[in-house]
Symmetry: C2
């Protein structure tokens, strides 16, 4: 059978990894795919740098349109990232009847519905394993491995930068700014780290997983997103004393009222395997009604780990390229006509547990005032930690873990607590998940 022809858009970190892995393992990949896979054209901005990588084996162009319009290319691999140019090229590739592989989480999270509709109309495949959790085959697990299950929830460490920063903060007692600088110096964080540290990257990935898990359209704009920039070393330390680790989790849950879709720093019991995922590693914990909990762990970024997922998608498409579209796995696991538009809950409606830290005067009655307010809001306390004031200090920290309550309820209670004369400043609120 003649080789399947692949055009690459972009030859940066992931693009060069894809080129190199495909070349290095070509014989073994062909033994799996049953057909040779050839990169025949690469579109890049910097054609000089590209020459060093492809060494004359592939045609290099500077206009992506030449790739998506090329009549002999079967699969377009989009590794440009970002929104506008990538989206235009992907839609054009689809319109030209090409299958598409992309690592672009923003594209799928924000424009997935439009992209899949176009692909469905043209009968082509769009695969995006590399868009979530780098080299971990989590899309395949959710979309194919767990099809028997009613998925109940997913909780994932799906941003390596923030997990690296949080690991360093805990390990070395660093504050956020110092840990961020270290991460930048080591190449784990970009010069402009906003997308990572503000939780946007994680929310893109979470949005995609939620769609596949629950059979709903992608709804990035409804995600609640809170990053790690305001997290203090002191809370990491208190959490540890209470037996918890703080991780930036993407959490999506299905309950009777709707779908939760939220990214925020989260306390999780240190005994959970996922609490022990350190450094830049990623892990996704999935709860299904039949299988129970399964966890998927690996490198969430990097040249060759991400290339591993890109190429797996190319192999999948190679196997199914000439098959009838009905034999293919649906884009979002559920058949396009079987998606259901379930409500995504605003954060104020979500039920979870909480970690509260407040600075109080060390005198009788303060704790009684605080607990009375919590009782009025029917919030029960699961654990408490009160430190002796430091030498010469008249104030001290109280830390409380609550049982489950609704976000708007805890917020109302916090407002009342902050109004107490004996409480100084604001109350620090973090969310806590048992993940069991």
């Amino acid at each position: 059978m003649k080789p399947i022809k692949v055009g690459l858009l972009g030859l940066g970190t992931v693009g060069s990894g894809t080129f190199n892995v495909l070349k290095r393992n070509q014989e073994e990949i062909m033994r799996r795919a049953g057909r040779a896979i050839e990169i025949t054209m690469v579109a890049v901005r910097n054609t000089e740098r590209a020459k060093d990588i492809v060494k004359g084996e592939v045609e290099i162009v500077s206009d992506g349109n030449l790739v998506v319009d090329h009549p002999e290319i079967d699969i377009v691999v989009e590794l440009i990232g970002g929104n506008e140019i990538a989206k235009d090229l992907v839609l054009k590739a689809i319109a030209n009847g090409k299958h598409v592989v992309t690592a672009n989480k923003a594209l799928i999270a924000k424009h997935g519905n439009e992209v899949f509709k176009a692909a469905q109309d043209k009968g082509v495949m769009v695969a995006f394993e590399a868009a979530v959790a780098g080299g971990i085959p989590i899309i395949k697990a959710l979309r194919e491995g767990l099809t028997a299950n009613r998925i109940q929830w997913i909780a994932g460490i799906i941003n390596g930068t923030t997990n690296f920063i949080l690991s360093e903060m805990r390990d070395k007692g660093l504050d956020f700014a110092t840990a961020l600088k270290q991460a930048q110096a080591l190449g784990y964080a970009e010069a402009d780290p906003t997308f990572d540290i503000e939780g946007i990257d994680a929310a893109h990935k979470l949005t995609i997983m939620a769609s596949i898990a629950f059979g709903i359209p992608t709804q990035f704009d409804k995600a609640y997103i809170e990053g790690i920039t305001k997290l203090e070393a002191t809370d990491i330390e208190y959490a540890e004393q209470l037996g918890y680790r703080i991780k930036l989790l993407g959490i999506t849950k299905r309950n009777e009222a709707g779908i939760e879709l939220r990214v925020h720093p989260t306390l999780i019991p240190e005994k959970r395997l996922i609490a022990n995922v350190e450094g830049a590693m990623n892990a996704v914990l999935v709860q299904g009604d039949a299988v129970g909990a399964t966890l998927y762990y690996g490198k969430g970024a990097g040249s060759e780990p991400t290339a591993s997922s890109v190429i797996a998608d190319v192999v999948d498409i190679t196997r199914l390229a000439s098959a009838d579209p009905e034999h293919r796995v649906p884009y979002l696991a559920f058949q396009p006509n079987a998606l259901s538009d379930v409500n995504v809950l605003p954060m104020s409606e979500v039920f979870t547990s909480y970690y509260l830290r407040m600075r109080v005067e060390d005198k009788p009655g303060v704790l009684a005032d605080v607990t009375k307010i919590l009782a009025e809001f029917s919030i029960s306390i699961d654990a408490m930690l009160q430190k002796e004031p430091a030498e010469g200090e008249s104030r001290t920290d109280i830390i409380m873990l609550t049982h489950q309550t609704q976000e708007k309820n805890i917020d109302a209670a916090i407002a009342r607590i902050e109004a107490l004369a004996s409480v100084t400043g604001t109350v620090t609120k973090l969310r806590l998940e048992e993940l069991s």
Copy 2:
């Protein structure tokens, strides 16, 4: 499209789980599969018990041949287990042009080559996700998710019974016999636990993973198998003092000389995520050249976790049932004509690190004698632990961790050490893997 028809062979733990999950989640599964999935016939020995489960919705027969011969059945799901009857029925189903799903690890590990050959000739699919690690979609990950990679090694906790026993031994300081009795009382071990505790079950699963990872025929008879029955609580404790946990691992590696295929108790650094997999849970760590290490964790047994994998296979087959065979994923990940019969190494040829425990007289020169022998065999010591003799004792334990050496080399050194007058009894040898 009309429903796909499924016939079940067996309605025990996994069979009833499969029936119940398919029924409970039928609407959601159909939304994924694009087609209804119907169990139309069940073959069981005890038809009375079966009636309680299927409640008149399915035809119950006592002869499996009626299922595999039934003209309207598309997929035969074999959940009888064991060898002879299961094998005959599976081969007959294939001969009749049915697709087959099986949870039977012994069947695939021992007769996989014959089964796949027959299936290939008839153009039908044989799927066996449930045969390895219960509900964890590890077969799919290896076969499809990691196709870009040259797999370097796999190390798995793939038997829940033994992991439960080892966890109890460590947690509570129990000896093997007591922990086994507890496991039996709690239903984690069978009345005849031989298959589990002797490592045979793990070796079946490892054999299957090795074939998929490396593209080799199944070669169960060449696996090295050592169970946990001789493991002493004292070694678990010493290992812990040195920063290691002992797990029954299935390990398969590819190196220049051939394939390693071995099941044995193994020391692993406690910092590794897989070292913290406790109780009856399973986990598989896979090292690929592009993706690096990925880990897959979940329930390795039980009614609904295993059913989860059975049904995922049924959904996969439903999607591809009417597709051309060339569009399907190969049975063992590699195209049938692209398997390579790489040599499986005998254990004596394997290189690994070792834990040695010996009982010695507490007098000058003993350690010098032992280390001199190790030096003669070019075995270098990575760590050592020597305890003061107990009150009134003239003997003490020496524990050594070695760097990598070949198994036949360490065995020769041990024979020399055991011949020393100052060494009492035999030297306990356990293998150690860094898994990095």
